[in-house]
Symmetry: D2
Subunit: 300 residues, 4 copies
């Protein structure tokens, strides 16, 4: 029975905490690890065991899930001292839910294959509130049998799971594409906002018209509201993380010789945002750069 | 009673024909004019009278609507020989539904004011099929009383009317912004498509994931399908018209000192598309330029 | 003898004054016109007659030279009231030394041809000090016989004359290309300067190395000094004029379906510069935008 | 006496061979190493000894020079098996003449300092023919005493040495800036060439005018000739190397939060050039992309 599945979970940041809680609530046998141990307390209250190291989280697990900040953190919990790769049993599955590089996705696929384990990419769309409410969208890729196995676990934390391909890296690149598209919405609405402000058009009236017609998607409603109100709180996804994902999509594109001029332009926006010392802001604050270029003082 | 309102309608192209038919069906007293007279026949069948010139369409009208290809055509029917400006009675309303420049919108506002008439900007979102099915979205701007007067006419052809402002040019700039945003969706999905193709990711799987999650808007569904299937038929909006609207938004932005780097990049895409002799294609065919830059042979 | 040639000269701005003086000094029979009459005084002292209107400057002239701010000013002195076109005798030559649009160059060619006159494009490279010192570079285009006729006049004010083509518009487009290339030098050195400043590299050491190696051209030395010293005085070419020439090259490129992404990027730089209220500065001040984007406070 | 200095030289590619020969000719005691041993033969003929490994080249040297393709190759000869770092004596100087990353330049500075050795950055401007003719331009940076020591060696192969700074990385970033500026000349002349071709202006006439006026620098003459003649032979600097240097300047700029939009645009040009399979061409062949975008068939 699926509720007997043993799950290791590594990475209890803003996203991982919500996801792990959903998995615990669904009745799976959960063992969590986080570098900063204090963050494990709420999970322990929810019935999860606490692991001492990544290997400890993986050792008895059928499935070990990672949700970490970047490639370096993921590499560390997989290949580092007390890493999960050497501890996971043959037939075990490593599910990476965080956004990683295409190159790392391919390396993980190969490393787990050589260890007679399986690697599944399951990157998510949604911010921390969506994770907490089990409303994530998941792009899933890996071997058929492994996907069937992990599906009940992922269902506990998502509103929709889309099977993409058998090669994990294809879900990885899809996630990078999704974040790229969000970034283009941010920039395009930012430019529209600059023109509206300079033309005397009320940005709120603009946004209402757009989102009640053909731009009626959450991405326009949510980011559009932040941009037109020039209010970038709460910080759902910090600006340096957004820059990191922009870097990852550009790397994937460079490796396949694909120019992505919108992505390169957004790259430059992130650099100005960082030169402005906006590291602590939500990544949607890059929208302020378009206003600044039009002579509107940026929100501090 | 509103159904006694006398309406002149000038411009029976792909959009105008559908709109005029809806107005006729709604029972208004309609008199139409089109430069190429043959296009008036279906309207005559639907009960409309046929005018010999713009002035003739405007002379007895309470409201005269224009739906024309560009600024030059609009200027011609307003100020040219047998133009509507000198024929429209005091208190009469000129409603421009086509996409015009901000500068022309302001000139029309002033010219009609001096003639003791009213100018209303009512640009629409939607392609010819939406016009035919009375499913347009309309951004409406002008003096309060004039807006109330034209509303029943516009309701006959739209699914939603958004009142934007008292200054007509603000609806005009909003329409330019909307088309700019569509063009950014085309370019961003095009770049995503190039990366997907070069990475082995199935474009259809990509689009399904995106449009069933946070990109669930018609603009992504409709243009996304054309771009990922690389099928740009039918031609809902010809490429040179798309280029024209890009030029108009850049002009509006230049006049207010607003850099719009996404718009300038799309400007260059249109130039390559025209250098490729793609004038007869739908404007979404500019998406092929991103593929071409990545070494994928464009669809002829 | 060439010194008997009668020359009309229209436009005594910073460039035109220097050129006209050189022509006067060379002994030609010169008659000058300027909209603001006060500027004719130094020329009168130098022996020139003063005309009351463009037609008056052109009426007895073998050659009439125009050196005006933009297309509109040129159109006005050619086709406006008391314009030169109707006054110039058959066989007379109109030499346009200012930077005009390709479209206007072609219209002038045709208009003068129909009037049995000749049009020669003779745009110049060089700032006001070069004009004063007869050190201009001139690109010359027009019919063979006309070129031979105007050459001695132009030699009085230039260090080099390059015959380009028989079609005047080809010298016009070449001038637009030259100004485009200068603008790319400004932007590229500006970006280099930003990187140098942020990396601790001394901009002066950078510039010395570059201009003493393969970048040993005046364009790098002169603009490079202004940019690295962040000193944009004196104003040799005002920023809005630079923007105008950027607009002209983009128009010429658009008409021939040529994307020029460097030029479009510089277009956006000019918009930010104008949003910053830098209209009174030399056009090289657009270099400050690159620093501003990197978080370096711009020079006021 | 300086001619008694013992020099190790590692890396006998197109650039390194010419430089090493000049050093040999100048009478220094030279010991060379190259991964592909066959390339050492001409040096042996010129009197150089041949080393078996990088350590062997460095062991008795006062100065060891590296001229290698990229960071990876440099890292390998420094830190790899039989690398130079552990062999060079205290007080020995490592001079890197190749273009490396700013990050590597800083790492080398620190590593050699810890080994009580010295690191000097001496990147060069000039293509293989300039190397062979001892006509290179060298940007030199490092500690005062070390610079004095290496100067006679570098004088044997250069026409000019510019001392930049005491921190080696500042010469490194200057070299990246120089290559960036060359790439902007390539792109800007390419765009000018596209406009000229499409406008009927003779590219040769264009180039002659420009390079005989304010663009009279080798960078415009040499690259301008290749671009306007559309002849990219001989391959002085292969396209993937040009792409590498573009990547390095973008990395340096990213690390200091400096947007360089011209550099990012050129990044995309390189990707299209690589998608076209132009890896074997000179890097100036990226100029063909601008023509291609304007509908001119690229030279194969």
């Amino acid at each position: 029975m699926t509720d007997k599945l043993k799950i290791g979970f590594i990475g209890l940041g803003a996203m991982g905490s919500g996801i792990a809680k959903n998995i615990a609530k669904a009745g799976f046998d959960l063992r969590v690890f986080n570098r900063t141990a204090a963050r494990t307390a709420p999970l322990a209250e929810a019935g999860a065991k606490v692991a001492a190291c990544p290997a400890d989280a993986a050792r008895e697990a059928d499935i070990v899930v990672t949700m970490l900040a970047d490639d370096a953190a993921t590499e560390h919990v997989v290949w580092g001292q007390d890493g999960l790769l050497s501890a996971l049993k043959p037939g075990g599955i490593h599910v990476a839910m965080s956004t990683i590089s295409v190159a790392l996705s391919n390396r993980l696929t190969e490393a787990h294959r050589q260890a007679e384990q399986h690697f599944v990419a399951a990157p998510v769309l949604g911010r921390p509130d969506a994770a907490a409410q089990a409303k994530l969208f998941i792009a899933l890729a890996g071997e058929r049998a492994a996907l069937d196995r992990v599906r009940p676990v992922l269902e506990s934390t998502s509103q929709r799971i889309s099977e993409i391909a058998e090669i994990p890296a294809q879900a990885t690149v899809l996630k990078l594409i999704a974040n790229f598209l969000i970034s283009t919405v941010i920039e395009s609405v930012a430019e529209a906002n600059a023109l509206a402000l300079r033309s005397g058009l009320d940005p709120q009236a603009m946004l209402d018209f757009l989102t009640s017609s053909i731009f009626s998607a959450p991405v326009y409603k949510n980011y559009g509201a932040m941009i037109t109100q020039r209010n970038f709180e709460p910080v759902g996804f910090a600006l340096p993380l957004g820059q990191k994902d922009n870097r990852l999509v550009l790397q994937a594109a460079e490796a396949t010789h694909v120019p992505m001029p919108f992505a390169t332009l957004i790259r430059d926006r992130f650099l100005t945002a960082r030169a402005m010392n906006w590291d602590h802001r939500d990544w949607s604050a890059v929208a302020e750069v378009a206003l600044r270029d039009a002579g509107v003082d940026p929100q501090a």
